[in-house]
Amino acid sequence: MARQVTLNRRLINTGVAWAFGILIFFPIFWTILTSFKTEAEAISLSPSLFDFDWTLENYQEVNSRSNYPRYFMNSVIIAVGSTLLGLIIAVPAAWSMAFVPSKKTRGILLWMLSTKMLPPVGVLIPIYLIFRDWGMLDSRTGLVIVLTMVNLPIIVWMLFTYFREIPGEILEAARMDGAGLKSEILYVLTPMALPGIASTLLLNVILAWNEAFWTLVLTTTKAAPLTQFIASYSSPEGLFYAKLSAASTMAIAPVLILGWFSQKQLVRGLTFGAVK
């Protein structure tokens, strides 16, 4: 597959690609670097690359002063909770569409995707008022429910594309051997579907972790996740570059690492298997 190229050409490619890569990654790199500077060095008018006094004081201060762990826990609960709830609803649905398709399946799938086209502001006011009347504003339960519904179409689509690649012949063989629906699902399908379910879970945790519209609108303090915590730095606290950087680094690190691990599945998952 790989074509023969000269070493020179390969070196030039490497240089150009790395230059662009570093350029694109630079804002993240700079944020991480700044998080280890003192506030004075961070805001200095002649920034230094590595020759500064490395310090952890920003991390300590962010942790102690603003109850960072609570925001972090809110993020974890909301992202994981909405993903699990979504999977509970979506797995059976995707399953039945992949294995017992009907004439309506195509229509249902496209309709589900079209609900993602509904701009959140179209339903913002009723959700806000319902939440207010039911005392669900600024509650984790409320956010888990909203984010489940927001990401449900994506979860169904991802699972559907993964499930559809499980060959039907295996099911028929199991049936011939006398497997009932229950053992068919439990012992034949589940093991084959697990990798797809795992990637869906991973990608949806990432989407829910970063979801900003609903978390910013529906929470204030109690249930506020990291998106809200970071937004609270917008002014005038944002001028504390080092602390902002430390908070940002802690907010993005888990998802950045998850994302790097799942980048291959990301392509398949987010394009519904249309691009391989």
Binding site: M1, R3, R9, N13, V16, A17, F20, G21, I24, F25, P27, I28, T31, I43, P47, I89, P92, A93, W95, S96, V100, R106, L110, L113, M117, L118, P119, V121, G122, V123, L124, I125, P126, I127, Y128, L129, M149, V156, L171, L181, W209, N210, A212, T227, I230, Y233, S234, G238, S248, A251, V255, L256, G259, W260, V267, L270, T271, A274, V275, K276
Partner: protein, 289 residues
């Protein structure tokens, strides 16, 4: 393969998702539609029928046209930058090189950064006219620093959002490019096709499907850009960087005008549907189910 038994089970398994999604869509949407015909402000008690007054007010407000233009500029601008840039970067990354895996990780990283972080980091550490890195760069080069968010708010937001979505486009297009049969390229090369014509006649058609997906997914998210605006400019100065979602948010949750905000919400839904019909046609053609 399917029996009556399994069909019944299939329906039972599918219905919770369909019913919940239907309720999630139709109940609030019906309420928004209903509110949009009422005089309804959370600060004043009571409601009364307004007819189409809210729509009249919203649609004739100069802010609406500005927000509509901004929404289209953000979607269009970011799409052009990410699709063109993504194609070029994918072309670059597809070449043989050392450490391709690590470069890929560098490229994809911005996609995983939460929007509020992206917005704040760019606003403060890069675009700030006195302490930002761009200002330092300008000063070092002997130029005058630009007040990005103050004087070019919309362009700055397009730039920030493009940084966020360029990795996504690059990754998808790169994946598609790697599935291109290299023999086809080699054959074209032997036949004397230039690099440019190889690009336009072989690579671009091959990428069409992936490009469709990129445009579809990004449009869904770009139509609803919110956090980046809230954190950087608050829609200002004036309405210079307000898009439709942000305008509706301001009207309903900052001015407590439920009726007016609802009318705006319905307008946003109608606009998104126009885009959606067009996009779903494209997807219907390009995705085989």
């Amino acid at each position: 393969m399917s029996t009556t038994h399994s069909r019944t089970a299939g329906k039972a398994m599918l219905s919770p998702a369909v019913i919940l999604l239907f309720l999630w869509m139709i109940v609030p949407l019906a309420m928004t539609l209903y509110f949009s015909f009422l005089h309804y402000n959370l600060l004043t008690p009571g409601t009364s029928f307004a007819g189409i007054a809210n729509y009249q007010y919203f649609l004739t407000d100069p802010a609406f046209f500005e927000a509509l233009g901004n929404t289209l500029a953000i979607v269009g601008g970011v799409l052009i930058i990410t699709v063109v840039g993504g194609t070029l970067l994918a072309l670059l990354l597809d070449q043989p090189m050392f450490g391709q895996g690590i470069v890929r990780l560098l490229f994809i990283a911005p996609f995983f950064v939460m929007p509020t972080v992206t917005a704040l980091v760019w606003k403060n550490m890069f675009m700030n006219p006195t302490n930002g890195l761009f200002a330092w760069l300008a000063n070092t080069l002997g130029a005058t620093p630009i007040d990005f968010l103050g004087h070019h708010p919309l362009a700055s937001i397009i730039m920030i959002v493009s940084w966020q979505w360029l990795p996504f486009a690059t990754l998808i297009l790169l994946t598609a490019m790697q599935s291109l049969d290299s023999e086809q390229i080699e054959a074209a090369e032997m036949d004397g096709a230039s690099a440019v014509s190889r690009f336009f006649h072989i690579i671009v058609p091959h990428l069409a499907r992936a490009g469709t997906v990129v445009i579809l997914i990004q449009t869904i998210f770009l139509l609803s850009i919110f956090a980046e605006i809230l954190v950087t400019t608050n829609g200002g100065p004036g309405y210079a960087s307000t898009n439709i979602p942000y305008l509706v948010y301001m009207q309903s949750l900052l001015q407590f005008d439920v009726g007016g905000g609802s009318a705006g919400g319905i307008v946003a839904v109608v606009l998104a549907n126009i885009v959606a019909i067009f996009l779903m046609r494209m997807v219907g053609k390009n995705l085989d189910l």
